[in-house]
């Protein structure tokens, strides 16, 4: 991935509302097609790594440059919020405008929201077999969550200090310490630790 230029004001490819192409190319991307792409993403995106569906819809066809997409992906991982949701809006912003992103988000959310409402209505009937299905879905979801945690741990833990901070956060959260306390306290200690290691290196 190319590094951004030293002066970010010159790096227009990463500015909001731009995908690194000229205005004439942005105008060439029909907003109706873009909205259909967002709807399609909302229909087929399941599980971890949903961003891959956005990549397929907007990067493979050249509407958004790969490095711009990856830049935005990293950006959504650092700040709080639903990463997939924020990435949808950023993609819309890159293709045309923030408003396209907001409209795209509404379309991407719609299929899942509709299915969720239908599931709530259908599963409220009290049927024993449906209750069994709900129980099974819970079992499967916990399995998926366990897999997600395992993958994150393997990929993100690089040594015993990381393990210590993971455990500290875990214990504080399980003990009922509010996130408003847990996150700043552990993050501050971790910043001091990793920052000190970086300075000493």
């Amino acid at each position: 991935m190319d590094e951004p230029s030293a002066d970010p004001r010159e790096d227009r490819s990463l500015s909001a509302g731009s995908a690194g192409n000229g205005p004439e190319l942005r105008e060439a991307r029909p907003w109706r097609t873009a909205l259909l792409k967002f709807l399609w993403v909302g229909l087929i995106s399941f599980g971890a790594g949903r961003w891959i569906y956005l990549h397929s819809a907007f990067v493979r066809n050249g509407w958004i440059r790969e490095e711009v997409f990856l830049h935005d992906l990293a950006f959504t991982q650092v700040l709080p919020g639903a990463q997939f949701v924020n990435l949808i809006v950023l993609c819309g912003m890159r293709v045309r405008s923030v408003w396209l992103g907001v409209a795209g988000l509404a379309l991407a959310v719609f299929p899942g929201a509709l299915l969720m409402v239908l599931a709530m209505v259908y599963l409220s009937g009290g049927d024993a077999r449906l209750a069994g299905a709900v129980h099974g879905i819970l079992v499967g979801a916990v399995g998926v969550l366990l897999a997600t945690f395992t993958r994150l741990f393997r990929a993100g833990v690089r040594g015993s200090p990381d393990v210590a901070f993971v455990v500290a956060t875990f214990l504080l959260s399980i003990a009922g310490v509010p996130l408003l306390v847990t996150i700043p306290v552990v993050a501050a200690v971790a910043m001091r630790w990793f920052g000190a290691r970086t300075s000493a290196a």
Binding site: D11, V144, T150, A190, T198
Partner: protein, 172 residues
């Protein structure tokens, strides 16, 4: 639960959801079950499970939770109040991010939040899994589902819906 309380809770949790919604599940469950008494722990876990079984953003599990808290409008308020503030923050910062990402404090924060996020997901896992403790078949099902997701790279939808089918057939 009033709409105001629901909105304020979700605004707070949304702004603390570093690494996504998974990290705030434990605190959200505590608030919904213990503080406001909106639902039982198992119902909260079931809502999360439904969010994993539907396409689109996983945060859609807030729909049944918001509905239980304050009816149909509660469902809308829960989703919007969780998503909107962080989204506005990201849009506000987006223009500056290329410069900010090179700041050493931002990079140190990014590095520090990684183990924090993992620890929070671990806590969420325990909270969501708690209703299944003591159920041998469920625990075995969790292990098989996790193994399928990791070793076979099975899609989460396949794992969740497959387990749902087994439950429908009375096998779980």
């Amino acid at each position: 639960m009033s709409l105001i309380d629901l909105a304020l809770l979700n605004v707070r949790l949304g702004l603390l959801s570093f690494g996504g919604g998974l990290g705030v599940l434990a605190e959200m469950q505590r608030e919904m079950v213990n503080v406001y008494g909106v639902m039982e722990a198992r119902d909260f876990a079931t809502a999360f499970a439904l969010g994993q079984a539907t396409p689109g953003p996983g945060i859609l599990f807030l729909i049944p939770i918001g509905f239980r808290a304050a009816g149909p409008l509660g469902a809308v308020v829960a989703v919007v109040s969780f998503l909107l503030p962080p989204l506005l923050l990201q849009l506000a910062v987006a223009r500056q991010w290329a410069r900010m990402s090179r700041n050493r404090w931002i990079r140190a924060l990014n590095r520090a939040l990684l183990p924090v996020s993992i620890g929070l997901v671990g806590a969420s896992l325990c909270v969501i899994a708690a209703p299944l403790v003591g159920d041998g078949r469920a625990v075995a099902g969790v292990a098989v589902g996790a193994a399928a997701a990791i070793a076979l790279r099975a899609s989460p939808a396949v794992v969740v819906l497959g387990a749902g089918l087994l439950g429908f057939l009375g096998l779980l």
